[in-house]
Amino acid sequence: MSTEHNRAGQPVSRDIGVLRAGYDYASVTDKIAGVVLDRSFGKVWWTAFGLTFIGVLAFFGAMVWLFIEGVGIWGVNIPVAWGFAIGNFVWWIGIGHAGTFISAVLLLLRQKWRTSINRFAEAMTLFAAGIAGIFPILHLGRPWFFYWLVPYPNIMNLWPQWRSPLVWDFFAISTYLLVSLLFWYVGLLPDLASLRDRAGRHGQRGKQVVYGLLALGWRGEARHWARYETAYLLLAGLATPLVVSVHTIVALDFAIGNTPGYHSTIFPPYFVAGALFSGFAMVLSLAIPLRHFFGLKDFITERHLANAGKVLLATSAMVAYGYAAEIFTAFYSGDVYERHVTIDRWVGAYAPIYWSMLVCNVLLPQLLWWRRLRHHVPTLFVLSLVINLGMWMERFLIVVSSLHQDFLPSAWGMFYPTMWDWVQLLGSVALFVWLFLLFVRFLPAISMAEMRGLVRDSAREPT
């Protein structure tokens, strides 16, 4: 075993596909910390920040108008009482699933390609889940009473209705947000300490104090590391069933109701697969600009992107199975309403969205069978955006097309989104990007502590 060493006798990384050669502990740390502490913000960042900030203002402006006027500003009405808000909620929470999946499941499976993408994927999860949580609250007729979902001692002598999926949802989303936050913060602790110490060395007093407070006095003692690693592993083990349960419960919001098109046992697994599908697509949409603009191509390599592409291909197949199972169940059940909803999706008012969805989610991802395309970064980037669009259409269809023609033809109706629907959808995207822009400038987008471990492992690996 011949390991390379730097002048201090420390190991130097070999090219193992997920990390390029020639990095030691110091350079890997400095490169990632440098993005946060030393790099100037730059024109591109400020432009993106400014543009998305306009979107954020529009989002909050629309929210204020909603609070003043009520949900009548949206296109929702009877029979389609669930419109964009619920579709957006399901879409965002789905996107939020990939972060925890990458951090937790891939950690338990000891996948090396997890190391440099877990941090920003977790941040993505946190932001997406947070945005998702806003929508059901906005959707309430009286959003200021949303805290009635919390079981707290109150003078009304009321309890939440435990048999309602909406209450389950509240428990699932709040748990998911808190556990994702804990997981992310625990992962950040050693890196915050690295930033504190680096800021101290470079005489950046203000940054030293801020990162020092956040690092809670972490100093890397062996006993601390042992407990830390145990806690981190346990969090991964806990987050794994959590990821599956959250979108399952979201699916139950629909499946428990007896509306045709909702009332199906395939929903929970189909929702979870769709969540991973859209989440990995979003990971690619974020990773590709991130590595490009911050010069992190040695850490987020084409291997990472290609692996994410393989996950997309697999989850696309699962989603396609979900579509097929829905159709099969509708006809096999012999239920006239189920059959009608299915045929209506093919040829009815929302058919163009259905067929576009199939193109985006099933047909185009088949390109990923080709190795050359999996390693072609622009293709991956475009494809990831296409898949996100396709998944949004899927959420929209599930919510709207099932409601618009349910049982009695006399009760059928159409849903047309209003300007405010669009403002809140696009505004939420802007809010997401805006938060992510702040994240990449103020916190390390890649885990430095784990990268140092990876440097050591890569140097020891026999070639």
Binding site: T29, P151, R163, L182, R198, L213, A222, R227, R456
Partner: protein
């Protein structure tokens, strides 16, 4: 002797050197020494004498409390405090109590894991005598440290320093208390 000491700090260039040094110090009877590394090193916790790691137990207790508490709350509210008769359906409808119970089992366990870990580690602790050693800032970047604290029964100012120097560190520093 001038200012009171916290201990003696030695810097090592590599993880293997630190592991070797920890082993040597342990053989010399030290039981409360501290080792610092910029990433987790497998086996180092045993060398510094961490026998029991209580984080898993705390996590288990947190999970059990979260789950049992949430189930109890649902049962109490649905059966005792606020029973609603819906066409004679059972009040104790346990299948629909499972989702919230499951979620709060996870939440309880996760909170216990994180706060238990911090508490056992004595964090947050924003100041530590070692932070007064300027070079120690590299402990979170690329250097490895071994600290023999005065509080260890095997500590003796001169013999301990000789021991550390014999392990070929990059330097040995006194850490003021």
């Amino acid at each position: 002797m001038s200012a009171p000491l916290y201990g003696l700090l030695a810097e090592f260039p590599t993880a293997d050197a630190l592991m070797a040094a920890a082993r040597a110090v342990r053989e010399h009877g030290f039981r409360r020494f501290e080792a610092y590394s910029p990433f987790a090193l497998e086996g180092l916790d045993e060398l510094v004498g961490l026998k029991r790691n209580h984080v898993p137990l705390i996590t288990l207790i947190g999970g059990l409390l979260g789950g049992a508490g949430t189930y109890f709350m649902q049962w109490y509210s649905a059966v005792i405090d606020y029973p609603i008769n819906v066409g004679g359906r059972p009040l104790h409808s346990w299948p629909s109590f499972i989702p919230a119970t499951f979620e709060f089992t996870i939440l309880g366990a996760a909170l216990a894991a994180v706060f238990g870990m911090l508490l056992l580690n004595g964090l947050p602790k924003l100041y530590h005598p070692l932070f007064a050693v300027e070079e120690f800032e590299l402990a979170t970047r690329n250097r490895f440290y071994l600290c023999l604290p005065v509080s260890d029964p095997a500590f003796s100012r001169d013999r301990s320093e000789r021991l550390l120097r014999s392990l070929q560190p990059l330097f040995v520093r006194e850490v003021p208390a």
